[in-house]
Symmetry: C2
Subunit: 158 residues, 2 copies
DNA sequence: TCGCGATTATTTAGGTTTCAATAATCGCAG
DNA sequence: CTGCGATTATTGAAACCTAAATAATCGCGA
């Protein structure tokens, strides 16, 4: 077996794991998307944005929001436009910085989100129902290692 | 603690795990996307399609391809159009069924993919470098449980 | 053989996401 | 206080993805 072939063989496990991670998340994600659409006529990105805001009552700047959601700023602008038009979030000027805007849930938005979040959580519990509490914990810890390693290697600018 | 609050508390672990799964895959996925763009001026969906074809030299029908890639048929049509225009894949009529087409890599496509795949695998190994071989195995098995449970519950039709 | 439901691929319209460019503002160095 | 690089949000162009409609073909049952 030459070096190149050995290299390949040695790394097959990582590749298999990665593909399985992708399969699992896509499987669950698609299920959640379709349920959000059927039950609440909304989309995952909209739900995500509201979920982020829910944790911070005073609101968040769009840059922070885009980092947390791991999407581009332009994307956040678009989703915010929609939710604002529906009265679920509002843009609030930031005192002392005329560039920035704080996005926050309106009372109506908070109410709507509460309903969705409750059901959403049940979907997740159901999706992960094949695991024991101990296995959930193990998975959580191992993925924590992955997350940490990925984030520390190459934070930005190779 | 009332029932609703308890319910919430009991299921917090699953939700946390789900969010972490999402974070990990998105983190890695985005890194791969940007590297595919920088290094090979291509995209993840195009890479994915070629990766599927690579495993089956005789080619695959578009329906099979769309199921494996977990995207819609129309999407596969679009990506195939691009790759075909670049001479990386070709559409081959199926003997005995004039509806179906076999998509397969051209020799040029196979060559291009081989180069990308080698580097791609290194990226994955690097991303998962924070784990021991044993941890990779554990993660793989646990995610296998998740995958199986999600797939068996509600295969289709509520 | 005929007809009809199912399968296969494509098209269409609409929404999502990214990247890059733009415009406004900030804050600091001089 | 002036200018200039950095930050903030938005916009525009292009790619991606979906769902639903369309068109061609298949294959089976009567």
């Amino acid at each position: 077996m030459d070096m190149e072939a050995r290299l390949h063989a040695d790394h097959g496990d990582e590749l298999r794991l990665w593909l399985r991670m992708l399969t699992c998340t896509q499987l669950i994600e698609q299920r959640i998307r379709s349920r959000l659409r059927e039950r609440f006529a909304t989309t995952l990105p909209r739900f995500d944005l509201m979920a982020q805001l829910e944790r911070v009552p005073e609101g968040m700047k769009m840059t922070v929001l885009s980092k947390r959601m791991m999407v581009t700023g332009g994307n956040v602008t678009g989703i915010t436009d929609q939710l604002e038009a529906e009265g679920l979030v509002q843009r609030v000027p930031v005192e002392g910085d005329r560039r920035a805007l704080l996005i926050r849930l309106t009372p109506a938005g908070r109410k709507v989100f509460a309903t969705m979040a409750l059901e959403h959580e049940q979907w997740i519990v159901q999706a992960l129902g094949g695991l024991s509490a101990r296995e959930v914990e193990t998975l959580y810890k191992l993925l924590g290692k992955v997350k940490q390693h990925v984030k520390q290697s190459e934070p930005e600018g190779a």
